[in-house]
């Protein structure tokens, strides 16, 4: 059942969803793409952020996005702590590939189970005035539930991009992934720079989590569905490229949406991962990789 309307709608929905995926994946691009830290626990942090937004919304009556923003400094500190532990135990010893991975695996568990014990398995969602509203733009209907996360995600991407390209510390982050020694000579400690970058990555999860709970209800194990997606996006976009991450997220979102609409939603996830496999086989540097 093909019609131009349906196609446009599918593409628009895909773009909006893709924007949200970008918000979730930016942290991985930083941690994994630039710093080579395989933080598979990233989606678990996103869920933690989502619960943070839930608590902010239900206990303090905050708008979820505000709650997410307020959570960012807390998550930033958390990121520093996690990185320091990771560095001291693994990176310093050169053990990071296998053991660091398992360390993050363990963190997934700890986060998930703690949330489980605290909040149970009931689905949680947020109450915000605009969550059910829609915006009509000519023939296209934009649900706020998706449009707002999209806008926020774009903002976050832009901020991150500016940070990495215009500020001293941002450039230091890009430098540390390319050349430790040169960075030292420029007066910055690689470890501190990496800690900063990782902490920023974790801070983004607070906001990403707030967006997640806006889109749909959550419970502690929802993060597992995203483990594959975020790495797929990071790889597809080319490791370490912020713009690449955005592009890859949009592509993935649109692909999923088109498959969902025209072939059946059942295949949407397989298509994205199938594409990932193909890209890995043909061009591992991703679409925009260096």
């Amino acid at each position: 059942m093909f019609s131009l309307d349906l196609l446009t709608d599918a593409v628009v929905a895909g773009i909006l969803l893709g924007g949200f995926y970008a918000a979730v994946s930016l942290g991985i691009t930083l941690a994994f793409g630039l710093l080579d830290i395989v933080n598979i626990a990233h989606p678990a942090f996103v869920i933690l952020g989502a619960y943070g937004a839930y608590v902010g919304n239900s206990r303090l009556g905050l708008d979820p996005i505000v709650a997410g923003l307020l959570g960012m400094p807390v998550f930033f500190l958390l990121g520093i702590v996690v990185y320091r532990v990771y560095y001291a135990s693994f990176e310093k010893r050169g053990d990071e590939s296998l053991r660091g991975l398992v360390f993050f695996f363990g963190i997934i568990f700890i986060i998930e189970v703690s949330l489980l014990l605290q909040y149970g398995v009931d689905y949680r969602s947020v109450d915000a005035a605009y969550v059910s509203a829609t915006l009509e733009l000519g023939p296209i209907t934009l649900p706020f539930r998706l449009a707002i996360p999209f806008a926020v995600a774009l903002g976050l991407t832009l901020l991150l991009h500016l940070f990495l390209s215009r500020t001293f510390w941002g450039r230091a982050v890009k430098a540390v992934s390319q050349d430790h020694l040169a960075l030292r000579l420029m007066g910055a400690s690689p470890v501190r720079v990496k800690a900063l970058a990782f902490a920023i990555a974790i801070a983004t999860t607070s906001l990403a989590g707030a967006l997640l709970i806006m889109i749909g209800p959550i419970e502690p194990s929802v993060g597992r569905e995203y483990i594959g997606r975020v790495f797929a996006i990071a790889v597809l976009g080319g490791m370490g490229s912020i713009g690449g991450t955005l592009a890859a997220s949009l592509i993935l979102g649109v692909l999923e949406s088109l498959t969902s609409t025209f072939y059946g939603p059942s295949w949407a996830l397989a298509v994205s991962f199938g594409i990932l496999l193909v890209v890995l086989a043909v061009r591992p540097a991703g679409l925009f990789g260096r």
């Binding site: 395989v38 135990s89 053990d95 590939s97 296998l98 053991r99 991975l101 398992v102 360390f103 695996f105 363990g106 963190i107 997934i108 568990f109 700890i110 998930e112 189970v113 703690s114 489980l116 014990l117 597992r224 483990i227 594959g228 790495f231 797929a232 790889v235 059942s266 295949w267 996830l269 397989a270 991962f273 199938g274 990932l276 496999l277 890995l280 086989a281 591992p284």
Partner: protein, 314 residues
């Protein structure tokens, strides 16, 4: 330890297992031990690629489920006899390993890990959409009413798993001692250097992925009969991926003994916890234990033991 001694021990264990089934009526121990032995196979299989070669496989569930669903298809289509199920499960999963290896092993290890994750998702989607095996509605595979020699089917499955576990350990032991094992270690330590020295890295890695995948498939082949009702979520469960990674980490990744120790300890702990503590704490414990080991005993229990022995000698 010489191969002949180990072979004698293995045969003795199989005979002991069979003898046990004559004596012990309590089915609980058979079921519980079945699961632990299944993990011995999975952990050993994972370790061939992960511990020996240094390539992390996140998609153990994909290979396990491939073996399980291959068996289910054969059971449904032609009521195939049991040895055929094992062989077919191993063969198909092995080919899968070969395929995925060929696609991705030319890349850095971490990309292989991501590819295995993607593989699990793609395969699960394929199975879910495959009507013949019931898709997400699942497939019922009733156990044959009678099995020769054993009192009931569970005892038969138990002995089968004992044999499979020993077979997996034997395979790992043999690989470790052979030129393949030495090549894999060279790859793990420094792949570029190994290449320069003429080690056929791609071929060896393909051998490792194929063998690893095949063993996981063989472990999965009896699964339909073990549960009698199988659906994709349980066959592709994340548990298999997590445990086959955690067990060698805990036991020690450098020898064939490590996965055995890890599987027995962690598997037994999980079985006990299921029928005692029995709550969300169960999961927390797994996470904490794994993290603790990663910090305190990076070389696993085997490593701890070695250090203790070395100190005792000095």
């Amino acid at each position: 330890m010489s191969g002949r001694v180990l072979l004698a021990v293995a045969v003795a264990l199989v005979l002991a297992a069979v003898a046990l089934t004559r004596v012990l009526e309590n089915q609980y121990y058979y079921f519980a031990t079945y699961v632990i032995l299944q993990y011995v196979v999975l952990a050993t299989a994972w370790n061939i690629l992960g511990g020996y070669t240094g390539y992390v496989n996140f998609g153990s569930a994909a290979f396990f489920a491939t073996g399980a669903y291959t068996a289910a298809v054969l059971i449904k289509a032609v009521a195939a006899p049991f040895p055929v199920l094992l062989a077919a499960g191993g063969l198909v999963a092995g080919l899968l390993g070969l395929g995925i290896g060929y696609l991705t092993l030319r890349l850095r290890g971490v990309f292989f890990a991501i590819a295995t994750l993607a593989l699990a998702v793609v395969l699960q989607t394929l199975v879910v959409n495959w009507g013949y095996v019931g898709g997400s509605r699942g497939i019922y595979t009733l156990r044959p009413a009678r099995v020769p020699f054993f009192d009931n089917y569970v005892e038969f499955l138990f002995v089968v798993m004992v044999v499979l576990a020993l077979g997996a350990l034997a395979t790992a032991w043999w690989i470790e001692r052979s030129w393949i094992g030495r090549g894999l270690v060279a790859i793990r330590d420094n792949e570029e250097a190994a290449e320069c020295m003429g080690v056929p890295t791609l071929r060896l890695k393909l051998v490792a992925t194929t063998v690893s995948g095949a063993l996981m498939g063989v472990a999965g082949a009896p699964f339909p009969y073990y549960l009698t009702y199988m659906e994709p979520t349980s066959a592709f469960n994340l548990d298999y991926a997590i445990n086959s990674l955690a067990m060698p980490m805990i036991g020690g990744t450098t020898t064939w003994v490590g996965p055995l120790v890890g599987a027995v300890l962690l598997g037994a702990a999980q079985q006990v916890a299921t029928v005692t503590i029995s709550s969300a704490l169960n999961l927390l414990i797994v996470g904490l234990v794994v993290v603790a080991f990663v910090f305190l005993a990076p070389e696993g229990i085997v490593g701890l033991f070695r250090r203790w022995r070395a100190r005792a000698r000095a």
